[in-house]
């Protein structure tokens, strides 16, 4: 059951300060409203995975591993590979992250990442059929939060995309209905590089890439995913407040612009 989250009362003073700064177009870490924190992308860090990446946005650290294994297709797409995303809010990443089965925040996160990739058709699933109707490749995208300092959605999606863009798939043959894996590898076929851009609404101001203090102070969150062709491919609002329609329209405009910058960063890091 979804429940109103707690916001510690100790944080109220800091929140008030952040809201006050926001009303003047300022931020607690000195950034301009439309600035991201520094983005650092490392790939190929898990040799046993088909692909992997660690993305740091400021102090936020997310590591993503991609494993590709043979599996069964969905009945309604018998000739397509399967994409599956799982997010783990590991308890070392934040003092409030609890152990146990995935909670709504990690489920929402994994579903947003999944949606960005799926709706932009980022992975070319049509090329991942092995034995049509029977056997396809399943692409497991596992998100591991390592250090949570805000904006896990963007960090996770950038890491997932970077991991996919550097993923390798073993070549194979099908002999007598058995899959024979060969030694040489090819890149995972990709169609698109969707970039989500996340806004926080603090007071009446929209800001990009909220850090964790800003997330505590924000009333609402909006993520806009933009694909290669500058189309919107996914959106998600979160939080206890709302947006005026004009705020949403302008956020989409901003996201289209901002996504180009970040896509460039990722393409360079994964070349």
């Amino acid at each position: 059951m979804s429940t109103t989250p707690h916001s510690s009362e100790i944080l109220t003073l800091e929140c008030d300060h952040i809201i006050d700064l926001a009303s003047k177009g300022k931020r607690i870490d000195g950034r301009a409203p439309m600035d991201y924190r520094k983005i650092k992308i490392q790939t190929g860090i898990i040799e046993k995975a088909n692909g992997s990446a660690q993305v740091d946005i400021g102090q936020t650290k997310v590591i993503v591993g991609v494993k590709i294994e043979a599996g069964t297709p969905f009945p309604d797409t018998p000739n397509e590979g399967v994409q599956t995303v799982n997010a783990e809010f590991t308890p070392l990443a934040h003092p409030t992250f609890e152990l146990g089965p995935p909670q709504e925040n990690s489920i929402e996160l994994s579903r947003i990442v999944d949606r960005n990739l799926r709706e932009s058709k980022a992975i070319d699933l049509t090329k991942l059929s092995i034995i049509p109707g029977k056997k396809v490749f399943v692409v497991f995208i596992d998100l591991n939060m390592l250090d949570h300092y805000g904006n896990l959605i963007d960090a996770s999606t950038y890491a997932a995309l970077s991991a996919l863009l550097t993923s390798k798939l073993n070549k194979y043959e099908v002999k007598n209905d058995e899959l024979v894996i060969k030694d040489d590898q090819q890149p995972l076929p990709m169609n698109d590089y969707p970039i989500p851009i996340t806004f926080a609404k603090i007071g009446k101001t929209l800001m990009l890439d909220p850090n964790i203090q800003e997330e505590n102070a924000m009333s609402t969150r909006l993520t806009v995913g933009i694909d290669n062709e500058d189309c919107v491919c996914a959106m998600q609002k979160g939080g206890l407040g709302g947006f005026e329609p004009s705020e949403i329209e302008s956020a989409v405009e901003t996201a289209i612009q901002k996504s180009k910058e970040i896509r460039k960063l990722i393409m360079e890091a994964t070349r």
């Binding site: 979804s2 429940t3 909006l222 189309c231 919107v232 491919c233 949403i248």
Partner: protein, 258 residues
């Protein structure tokens, strides 16, 4: 699973005259039936039929909260569960809660929460339970419409009712209030929720592919849909109160007869 291979249903979603497969115009909502106060145990309840969607929402609270660590000292906590009945979908849904239901429960809560004056009831909980008895596209929107009425029916103080409507793109056309087939075979789905008087969008999600121009067009069509549905919500609430006051009046008159 054994399934009959059917011809591609996306072919006929929009015909030559620009009409949809169920005969609607692109900007036409499905027929909507709203009923407030349908359950006796729940403090408030409402029922919506929107096309084949059939959804019931019940509200309990403000009431005591367990476990204690969920208490919020300066406002009521709001809990929300959206559940699809196993028989609500084309293929039976397993009774265990799916990840999809967990996410929808969250976005519905966050769509309704801005409308609730929860600071009036600190340290309590308001529970919103939604049972989707039949699902045919746009159930999160229909759920919000019913749940907001159920909150009002429970006497929870609200800034205003929350309305909700989805838009999407099918065969290149922007259309409102998608039903299941349009949702499944369309190119985009954009559900939103709106507090019309406050001009506040409290839910927005998107799946698919929309250019900026298409997005703007679709978004405004959704806002318009919300406003229409909001009128229906107002009417439903009035019918309930009229009914109650009629009953009360007739009681009064009875008593006077004595």
């Amino acid at each position: 699973m054994y399934k009959l291979v059917k011809p591609d249903p996306s072919k006929n979603l929009i015909n030559d005259k620009g009409l949809r497969s169920d005969g609607r115009r692109p900007d036409e909502l499905r027929s909507i039936k709203l009923q407030v106060g349908v359950l006796d145990n729940a403090d408030g309840s409402a029922y919506i039929e929107q096309g084949k969607n059939k959804i019931i929402a019940g509200v309990y609270g403000p009431r005591e909260i367990h476990p204690k660590h969920l208490i919020i000292s300066d406002r009521a906590a709001i809990r929300c569960r959206y559940r699809m009945a196993p028989f609500s979908t084309d293929e039976r849904k397993h009774p265990a809660p799916s990840r999809r239901e967990v996410e929808i429960s969250k976005v519905i809560r966050e769509a309704l929460e801005p409308s609730v004056l929860s600071e009036y009831y600190p340290r309590t909980v308001i529970d919103i339970f939604i049972e989707a008895l039949q699902c045919d596209g746009g159930t999160r929107c229909a759920s919000i419409v019913a749940a907001s009425l159920a909150l009002a029916d429970a006497g929870i103080p609200l800034k205003e009712l929350v309305s909700s409507c989805s838009v999407g793109k099918v065969k290149g056309h922007v259309i409102v209030d998608l039903y299941d087939l349009e949702d499944k075979y369309g190119e985009a789905d954009l559900p939103i929720a709106l507090m019309p008087n406050h001009n506040l969008v409290t839910l927005i999600q998107m799946d698919g592919k929309l250019s900026k121009e298409e997005f703007d067009k679709a978004f405004n069509m959704a806002l318009e849909g919300c406003r229409k549905i909001r009128n229906l919500q107002n009417d439903a609430l009035k019918r309930k109160y009229k009914l109650e006051s009629d009953t009360e009046n007739s009681k009064d008159s009875k008593e006077e007869v004595k």
